[in-house]
Symmetry: C2
Subunit: 337 residues, 2 copies
Amino acid sequence: MGATINDVAKRAGVSASTVSRVLSDNPRISEETKQRVRKAVEELNYYPNAIARSLANCATKTIGLILNTEAESLKRNPFFIEALTGISIYAQENGYNVMFAFNKSEEEDLNIAMRYVSSRSVDGIILFTSRTNDKCISFLKKKKFPFSVIGRPDEIKGVLWVDNDNFQATYQVTDYLISKGHTAISFIGGPLGHNVSKDRLEGFKRAMSIHGVPLEKTFLFENGDFSDDFGYECMMKIISAWEAGQNKPTAVVTCDDMQALGVLKAMQEKGLSDIAVTGFNNTPLGMYQSPKLTSVDVNADKLGFYAAKVLIDFIERKEATTHYIVPTNLVERESAF
Amino acid sequence: MGATINDVAKRAGVSASTVSRVLSDNPRISEETKQRVRKAVEELNYYPNAIARSLANCATKTIGLILNTEAESLKRNPFFIEALTGISIYAQENGYNVMFAFNKSEEEDLNIAMRYVSSRSVDGIILFTSRTNDKCISFLKKKKFPFSVIGRPDEIKGVLWVDNDNFQATYQVTDYLISKGHTAISFIGGPLGHNVSKDRLEGFKRAMSIHGVPLEKTFLFENGDFSDDFGYECMMKIISAWEAGQNKPTAVVTCDDMQALGVLKAMQEKGLSDIAVTGFNNTPLGMYQSPKLTSVDVNADKLGFYAAKVLIDFIERKEATTHYIVPTNLVERESAF
DNA sequence: TAAATATGTGCAAACGATTGTATTTTGGCA
DNA sequence: TGCCAAAATACAATCGTTTGCACATATTTA
């Protein structure tokens, strides 16, 4: 069906090697032959066979993605799809294809990674993971196979990664609230097993201490999860304590829009609306909430874009950048006043 | 770095062809040699090179996805990510890789399709599209390149496709509302350029006529778009008409959760809560709405799964099924009573 | 005018598998 | 012992490129 390099060679009256050199615009071929060959390419509608090319080059020009469906937020959070588009953009710009596989466990993640590297079907791998002590990371490191990670890994030495500055993100949110006059601020955190959570917690604490705002122990939920249930639960505790005579916060900083929804739900049930709430991740869920949620946009598309960039640039030995910090931005809406 | 088939052959004291035959479990090789070869494979930790294999087989064992970011619902609707997981599952089960590319226009879609087929880097393509008169479809048809479509194409002859039964979906919704006693039902549709919209409209109409429920012209918004704005607009018209003395519907059938949100918003603004509303697509946005949205789940993961199945089965000449209809299911929540 | 240097192309060996065909080995039987 | 068929394995071509090196021709220099 498709024409091969030999067909082109024959038609142009040259050898296959010459055709190959014309295609890579090798200066050793005369302009005249180049014209002739290009005409033949045109006429035969010739496209190089990617597979044969890969075999000869020992490069597949494709990168593999390892995604995990364990993450419950997969559906709710547009993070993944945005990151995928970002990856796709940089990859396409540089002539790379992108492969993916969704896995259900760390075991499967590892299997796919092993298959990718041992069958040499990709030139590099992007890991969507924030597991501490990730098996894929150690495997790929040992194999010295090019890879990049979305989310800062435990041990950053010799690994390519991109991440938000999660510290700065909550710092900014907290600073914002303080600048609005809030002085009793609650914080609802995520699982401390993840670096994200630790950083966000620290950002909050730092902003508070810098501004000399006192940290109330009962307002602080350091170790939790990203669910609406957890947000609801925390807020209920706060409200109960208040009803029992304790202080009431005037603002709540959360680490996920879901948590914020939980907080809002608790407030609604108790008929409260005088507490400012901020979310995280800027999901549609927050956008269409009432009040519309002030939230932190993590720019997932940029995360994907730069994850692809560090990886591909590394593969092509273009640049020595090992990581990118993608800034977050605070999206001001109605819930934080 | 990795061992090749020749290394294995040498170590097992046989030829490369024998190793190849052992790997494909060819009965012409004696059990004894098989043992020996397998031991060598084990010891050298040998994995076949996927590229070389592809070149020899004229099969890449990968399928390409053509996705479009034009669709604004990309972020809001978990449709895509769910469909991707479904595709990934069937592909992995059958030893296929999946490649994707996000494009910004039909032109780009076509470019990618052309690149995929002419560089022979995939064995088949899955199209995420519902454009009428899609250029990719006609291109792939002309090239006789294997592909499947998510969403029923205009001309189904000789094309593999999967879709929901959109007719049946709105029929069921309407039937459900009628069974609850509703007799004044409004319908808010999507763009009639898409088959989905036509089918949903027909399903509604049929259910109404079968049950002998009169169709009120002013309740019918046949040609619209899937936005919340459109839903809001329609509902406002209805309410204004009612305020001007016309009838008021007791229920509204929409074609998208976003439309339903718009409807709900209009109702809230007007202090109305006695009208039942149904959504479509069962997005998180609807789930966390108040009232929780009764909606239609399209089982996007299954759509993806079967799109991969028809395609891969066709490529491997396993089965002659040309399409699947994936049933939708009505998710009953609070908004339709 | 011969030698030295550019300049442009072709040859052939990779890349790492698969597979049709040829060849060797084995075993049975006369 | 010799012959033949069957069983097991090896050989070599092939898939479609790329690329180092050799070779031929054109151009300059002594």
